[in-house]
């Protein structure tokens, strides 16, 4: 498999694992220094906002606490399309930009609606043993998320 292919597969697997709420599996795709951010730009206040930010440990804590909270149990489905992979051989990294659409499906009746759109900006490390996520920033275009959601995109 080419590096580009394995990088793409990493992005897609990260989506599938989170869709399945396989948090352990998701974290296994991440480097120890992993950083995760959800951001959005608010034209109303003319500012970039950070809506969620964690290191790997923070993500682990979040995942551990999730079942203890009251949450919307409607499953979500992440659709990613890798737009670009920019190799930085010297640093053993790739910068990856993917389009992201998140759909939410109600438990009762299974109605699916578009929940959010945005882009994934990933830094992938290529230092042997297959590509891993070093950093992921989800930049959301959608800012109206209704009652919100506890599981990161």
């Amino acid at each position: 498999m080419s590096t580009r292919q394995s990088v793409e597969e990493l992005v897609y697997r990260s989506c599938m694992l989170l869709d399945d709420r396989n948090f352990k599996g998701y974290l296994e795709l991440c480097e120890p220094g992993f950083r995760y951010t959800i951001s959005a730009h608010s034209p109303e206040i003319r500012k970039d906002m950070i809506w969620l930010q964690h290191d790997k440990k923070g993500m682990e804590t979040l995942f551990t606490n999730l079942p203890r909270h009251n949450s919307d149990h409607s499953p979500i489905t992440r659709h990613a399309t890798v737009y670009s992979v920019e190799m930085d051989e010297a640093n053993g990294q790739a910068k990856v930009v993917s389009a992201l659409q998140v759909f939410k499906t109600t438990l009762d009746g299974g109605v699916t609606e578009l929940f959010a759109v945005g882009k994934l900006y990933d830094t992938v490390s290529l230092n042997g043993g297959g590509p891993k996520l070093a950093e992921r920033t989800v930049k959301l275009d959608t800012r109206m998320l209704g009652i919100g959601y506890h599981v990161p995109f």
Binding site: S42, I45, K47, I50, L52, H69, D72, L145, G146, G148
Partner: protein
């Protein structure tokens, strides 16, 4: 024991101040009356002054009474509010939520207005109107606007209403020492939820629902001092809840809370509910402001703002943002739970569900789980509406004379 149909509709065995008829949350007629008798007469937060920092900056606002409004800072630095409605053929004047416009020119037929609401140009005016209509006849409708209580821009549709200061009275007194420094909005998002606006305000007016929050159950309720906090009601339907210490380390992953907020005791929490649908919420290092904009009996748009200090260093701001979003952001632990709660009430209480009563009956010497905050709100609601929240359709008969 479960109850049959007749028992289900029987009035709760509590004083009539301690429950409400759920039709106040679902009835279309009551909703229209609320827009007219409450929202169009009360002072409402439209935005924060930091959202219109420069001359000619504007910010649009959907007023809960229904009126589209824009706020504009004039060349004299005064902040004014106007209907966002063109006096010609009723077009919206400003389409974007924010911007900067020396002249507000309607895109339809290019009538122009200045920052004080005067019409400055009617295109081909004399040709079409001769002397029958002049620019002076078609100025914008100005809405009363005042800045206060933390630098918020308040508006009032009612030209005859009391001043903002009179309206608030002492209700925000607890927060006064914490609002001496200029603040700045760093977070803004909206949520539309199929529920009644009062149910959101109710959730912001009672802490009994800490049972819903895993985070609060373990960081607040189990700590000494939690049950000592008191509710205080103020004229015009406002209420405040005093400070308490919260032990953040009790939550796995909770960090040492270093930054805090000037005037707020470490670990403190101050919450003030302003009638009819605004809440100041100061905790850890962040001020949160909710503004409810009802869109129908069972639909509300809530605006959420997070504020820090204007003087924040980048590091301080980052910490405030982190504190805010962990709990109160769209992916935060508590906000989602709160919204899930009122969304569920909307599901159970919409018209024709045969929901009947909502009980606000807890009495615990006005302390944290007392439901006096909601009772205080509904007393004011009833006064302004000329309806009783427990009997909104005036159906109950006076007891027969002995």
């Amino acid at each position: 024991m479960s109850r049959n149909a007749a028992q289900w509709t029987q009035k709760p065995k509590l004083p009539s101040t301690h429950y409400v008829d759920t039709r106040i949350y679902t009835d279309e007629q009551i909703f229209r009356e609320e827009q007219e008798k409450i929202f169009n007469q009360c002072w409402i937060i439209a935005c924060h002054e930091s959202e219109v920092p420069n001359p000619y900056d504007y910010r649009t606002f959907n007023h809960p009474g229904g009126e589209p409004i824009f706020i504009m800072r004039g060349d004299d630095m005064k902040v004014r509010a106007f209907y966002n409605i063109c006096p010609h053929r009723g077009n919206i004047l400003l389409y974007d939520p924010v911007g900067n416009a020396k002249r507000v020119t309607c895109i339809f037929h290019a009538w122009s207005f200045d920052c004080k609401g005067s019409c400055t140009d009617i295109s081909r005016g004399t040709e079409g109107y001769q002397n029958r209509l002049s620019k002076d006849d078609v100025g914008l409708r100005e809405v009363r606007a005042e800045i206060g209580f933390g630098g918020f821009v308040w508006v009032n549709i009612d030209d005859g209403a009391c001043t903002l200061k009179e309206y608030i009275g002492d209700a925000l007194g607890l927060l006064e020492p914490t609002m001496e420094q200029p603040m700045e909005v760093f977070h803004y998002h909206k949520a539309i939820v199929n529920t009644n606006y009062k149910l959101w305000h109710d959730t912001n007016s009672e802490f009994y629902h800490d049972y819903m929050h895993y985070f609060n159950r373990i960081t607040g309720m189990m700590q000494p001092g939690y049950f000592d906090r008191k509710y205080v009601g103020y004229p015009n339907g406002h209420a405040s809840v005093g400070s308490m210490s919260i032990k953040y380390d009790a939550y796995d992953g909770g960090e040492q809370r270093g930054l805090g907020w000037p005037g707020l005791a470490p670990g403190g929490w101050i919450l003030v509910d302003v009638f009819p649908g605004m809440t100041y919420n100061l905790r850890t290092s962040v001020m949160r402001i909710d503004t409810s904009i009802p869109l129908g009996p069972n639909k509300v748009m809530i605006e959420f703002r997070g504020l820090g200090l204007k003087s924040d260093t980048p590091e301080q701001r980052a910490e405030r943002i982190r504190d805010h979003n962990t709990i109160w952001g769209p992916f935060g632990r508590n906000l989602h739970e709160d919204l899930l709660g009122v969304h569920g009430q909307g599901l159970a209480m919409r018209e024709m569900t045969d929901s009947k009563w909502v009980i606000h009956g807890r009495e615990e010497s006005s302390t944290i789980h007392d439901e006096i905050g909601m009772r205080h709100f509904y007393a004011e609601w009833g006064r302004r509406m000329g309806r009783k929240a427990y009997d909104p359709m005036a159906e109950s008969r006076p007891a027969a004379a002995a």
